[in-house]
Symmetry: C2
Subunit: 354 residues, 2 copies
Amino acid sequence: MDEAGQGDRPDGDGALFRAARIQDVARLADVSTATVSRALATPERVSPEARARVLEAIAKTGYVPNPAARTLRSQKTYMVLVVLPDLSNTFFSKILRGIEETLFEAGYGMIISDLDGSPAKEAHFAAFTAAGRVDGAILLNGHLFGQSRDGEGQPARITIPLVALCEAIPGADIPQIEIDNRAAASRMTQHLAGLGHSSIAYVSGPAINVLERERFQGFKEGLQAAGLPYDPALVIPGDYTIEAGVAAGERLVAQATRPTAVFCTSDEMAIGLMRTVLSAGLRVPEDISVAGFDDIDFAAVAEPSLTTIRQPRRELGQAAATALIDLLQGRTTPKRIRLETELVVRDSVAPLPR
Amino acid sequence: MDEAGQGDRPDGDGALFRAARIQDVARLADVSTATVSRALATPERVSPEARARVLEAIAKTGYVPNPAARTLRSQKTYMVLVVLPDLSNTFFSKILRGIEETLFEAGYGMIISDLDGSPAKEAHFAAFTAAGRVDGAILLNGHLFGQSRDGEGQPARITIPLVALCEAIPGADIPQIEIDNRAAASRMTQHLAGLGHSSIAYVSGPAINVLERERFQGFKEGLQAAGLPYDPALVIPGDYTIEAGVAAGERLVAQATRPTAVFCTSDEMAIGLMRTVLSAGLRVPEDISVAGFDDIDFAAVAEPSLTTIRQPRRELGQAAATALIDLLQGRTTPKRIRLETELVVRDSVAPLPR
DNA sequence: AAGTTGCATGTAATCGATTACATAGGGCGG
DNA sequence: CCGCCCTATGTAATCGATTACATGCAACTT
């Protein structure tokens, strides 16, 4: 054994505490460190007796393998990087929870990077992955490291498994987990049209965004399916934020002739927009119907409650984590996973009054 | 398809790509690995010439120090654990952003643990810190590892620096970063009373919660300062969620005699409550004034917009991260940091009509 | 009975940095 | 001119696990 009482457990005398190492466990169980390691990693390759002694010694010492040492040797970190554009956005945080849950169950930890639109951070995290700090990454930001959103620039040389979540990354040969944005947008558009609305405004996301492109496509398809013409004048630019919704609302109330329905491509925008048009004295849905997208928690308690498209956010996170874990553990995973959305009908949309 | 293609260096010859190690840099700069290490960690202890050669070699090779090796030897991870009760809650996610920002600037990474009320996860993360996976932790959950919220149980032996954020941890000798919940609640109560309300309901947080205790105390103090009696019948139990607000609202509308104002201790509850009372045909604020707490983004666009207490969430996160970094780097930090809140007057509260 | 196979285990190399200690050389005081 | 100190640098130990390889032994084959 070590000097005097080896590391001295404090339970009792308050001596200095030193975490147990594999060596301590090995000594206590009267086996080699190799056997301890095997008892944990590949129990079937160790005799039941040895295993029992090892487990007992581990329980007694409170041994926890040192992750740095383990990583250094095995080149595995059991850490996953999650890259997202805005941590403070409700939409992402529920997805994160799904990710975290699943990773946790599989024994992985999660490191979060809020890019915040900063190229410096992006470079940093690219180096991060290159340095072997994580085994894999889930990208929620719609583009690869070092590449701008429109696909320009050299993607950094990342050699670890990646998974794209929500925003598909065009041209990247990695699994994509998403919803069918086009179909969902089309469905909502047809829902509005089916209620008699023929003048439907569309509040967009950022133009470069993949989601936006798909939803916009879906919007146009929906119009077409309903036999309505597409009028570019009814497209109001937005960026998914509450403020953008407020701005869009101001633009609407200022107009002489107004659409009878507005399809906002995020609930935040829908809520901001409703707020503005209500303040201007219009009624929702009597004077104007408003639809959202995402079904965030506040959609159900907005005033009026918001008709929207529900995205299974938690499940999206879980699916992405599962896909990544599959890759990390050498299994295969589908290149594209699409989860179902749901049209949630509430009070902010009404039939066009006669 | 892994071999041959993936893993080999695209720039040029297609030789196998292997991340540069300190050895490679040392060779290229014609110095020892010790000098490379010193050139990075303590540049002033290396001659300018050697430093220049090292930096050049690093640029050329794209060398990034292997964190596992560094950690193993130096016992520093440059990682911070953030423990929080609910990742999907808007309130926390904005705080997280403040934390992440500050940690990032100081060269630290962030690992997030969403406890989700699970003791198993808690044990896991306690082991996590014990295993030296992080240098320090920020606790947003109001209690120490292994200790239930009411302070029972042995706190796990955590030997790394900790900081408590938002929810002070009674009895723990660690820096606490928070707002003055009592003063803020008292202020809001007096605001309501000052508008003529003498029957003010209070929708509480979870009873065991430290925030709740302080806010409740502040509520009672505010009543007293305004010369109003405290009536236990006007206290409605809640837990900060939208659903709790909805439930509280249902309870209110069912009552024969109603208070003229309601102070909800979270914006989520206020919004849920408003929704319910509005649906029941009451008007806010004409029939009943509603106040919230936190000033989340949706407070400003609620219908009506919500009078509330603004917590500087981003700054809280930044302050906690700064305090922790100070501790990690051997500096001292105040035991208690209190950030200012602000009473935000909007439309959900009105003077008591004559 | 000799040879083969395979299991359980131990020995020691290894991962890639940091850092304690050793050493060489240059400047300076006496 | 000698010795001392200080600076810059190199050598090698070290962090704590995993794992390639070696070994001993029992069981099984022929």
